[in-house]
Symmetry: C2
Subunit: 420 residues, 2 copies
Amino acid sequence: MSRHRISLRNVVPAGKRAALEQRIFYASSAIEDYRLVEEAGDVIAVEVVTGPGADPAELARKVDLLICNDVLPQRTRRPVVVWRSPHTADQAEGDVWARLERTAAVVEMGEGLYATGGLFTDLLSVLDGMLSEIAAGTFGAISYRYPTLISTDVLRRGGYLDAFPQFLITAGRLHADIDSYGAFVSGLESAPDTGAYLDRFGEHLGHCLPPTMCFHTYRQLEHRKLPGDAAVFTARGKSFRFESRYRRGVERLWDFTIREIVFVGDGERVAGQRTEFMRETWRLMDELALPGHAEVAHDPFFGNEATSERALAQQLMELKYELCLPVEGGRSVAAGSFNLHGDKFGSAFRITLPDGTTAHTACVGFGLERLTYAFLSQHGLDVDRWPASVRRRLQSRIPAEGPHRQTEGERNGRQRIPRG
Amino acid sequence: MSRHRISLRNVVPAGKRAALEQRIFYASSAIEDYRLVEEAGDVIAVEVVTGPGADPAELARKVDLLICNDVLPQRTRRPVVVWRSPHTADQAEGDVWARLERTAAVVEMGEGLYATGGLFTDLLSVLDGMLSEIAAGTFGAISYRYPTLISTDVLRRGGYLDAFPQFLITAGRLHADIDSYGAFVSGLESAPDTGAYLDRFGEHLGHCLPPTMCFHTYRQLEHRKLPGDAAVFTARGKSFRFESRYRRGVERLWDFTIREIVFVGDGERVAGQRTEFMRETWRLMDELALPGHAEVAHDPFFGNEATSERALAQQLMELKYELCLPVEGGRSVAAGSFNLHGDKFGSAFRITLPDGTTAHTACVGFGLERLTYAFLSQHGLDVDRWPASVRRRLQSRIPAEGPHRQTEGERNGRQRIPRG
């Protein structure tokens, strides 16, 4: 382990400190940890921790490049809050995460990966059910189970590869060839680095892991004319983002669950539906007695000279709102987002309305692990103290999906399991 | 497109014809289609269709190698049937798949990928619920939601990489480096082959996509001593296998859904639990009025000189049974399997019993898309003609998850969607 101090060629003002912190691990995978050095509020240097053999001059160049390309051009804007919960944060228990771990209701399964069980899973299903009811009941959404794999070409045409290269997770396979399989198997045992060995015998599958659900919907509608003047789809599924060392518990996972609702229609209609879904969400947050707020946001575009302009445009046009909910430790998670796309995807995937014009789209997505954890952070693990509508739904779930209203001790009473 | 006739150096007897057909696409990815040429029941040649530029001599060598290594050593055994359904196949409708496609209840989303909606999804949930009730009710299984990504090291230590290299689907990411991201983004638009371009800028993530759920359970229990003398886990999740050109509808997907139950304990106990779960499954098949049978089976090991011995040992020791259900077109799918592992995984992952001995494991898995399609193949799409217990469960599902007991026309009445 080495420690290097990088004096910045361009100091980073306090207002852009967060933009630096959100990106620094993508500057170089050699950076294992870092500390910002400040002077009069500006960041003037970064101390980085690396493995052995890292070249300090190269690291400095990469960090300076990151600051020039992706940090300094970010326009800092005062947060624009569009909703505030009437409920105040009251995290009475304060040790919810520790207790979830202790009872194996959350189990770390690798970098950015968690298994969930027991009360956590049951609550996640209940909360998803409440969102699904809004989607189906109020908006008439059609529900699909999508495959997990998504065509790489769809992500490329949808603009994901060049906007978010840092998040991309691809799928590969070994060369489909008997000589290659034979060589792979016979050398596997002595291969010192399985990852490099797989890269040597592998190739891209033609598919990636999806960063959101909505790309599946565009793929499904590609080259089609809607039979009516609007359509709403909903899906729940796994999404994947390479969050590097930014992973943290279920607050920031590499592999997480989204409930997504996609609106397709003319521009005015989908904008109205987004607004209406936001109102329904504020109502639900009130019913769940959750504190939090919603604000104008932008996507973490990366690696492209146009990224800061795109982020700014997104904010000025209020194309993205995020639902921010407090969790333990004084942190906050973006548990939902409400997005307008204009005709970007309708045009990329040639989705048209009955009159032949290009469809506009909007989508609303909820990170179910984050939402669940925000709920538990606020209300604790004692089900009896939860809002009545959640308790009722938990109780009405069929027994096969797990016992409810038990204490932690009772829950695993029949069959104690080792902590993960 | 070229067509080449490969005269086989070793003829393949009729009894091993299936073994050849199940593997030939893994001999070389240049093979796009094939036809076997027979003489007096033996396969004496293969006509293969390839893209331009394939070398016929190389192809012949690869096919001969496949036959020597992976086909001829297979010991053909007479099927050992351990259960036969009392119900007879009665696929009255015969056009179920066509109607599922027409009503967009199944939508092809790429090679080996399908989205499912409407009645298909609802039925899949009901059938999974019935299996889950057996798991939780009769066996006290603890339920987990696992991440999708599984550590590559877990698959390696579990013996998957060298036993099934042909099925493996890996996960990758781009090099986490600002120079690399920049070069990737600036060259993307002019890259002629996105797959090769991603390979150039990418590296293995350290994780793969799981071929079954049970590896997650072993990972969870790794290095642990069970607090009791046995434990049962269940999970539903996505599994992935590169099935090459063998993909077919939802009968053989690259990306499918498994309900899995894993038994951990001493050898006698887990063997007994496997037997008991098989009995419960036969009871459920009877309740579902499904025809079919179960037989001794073996895994499609590949690419290793020991594969045929392993397959034979598996059969002789009856370590694997498969539940075979008929589907439309006179075909059959393996919709479930019941497996004994001895202490293979307990030993690989150092899972021990309270007395310090190595745990034995067994697992039972169901392919939910296959099971659903087998049900629909037999009973058709008219819910009123389905077995009562399934109808009742469909009706009791909450409205948010979709309307039931509607005709096809009514189902999508509110919002017609374009066919996928």
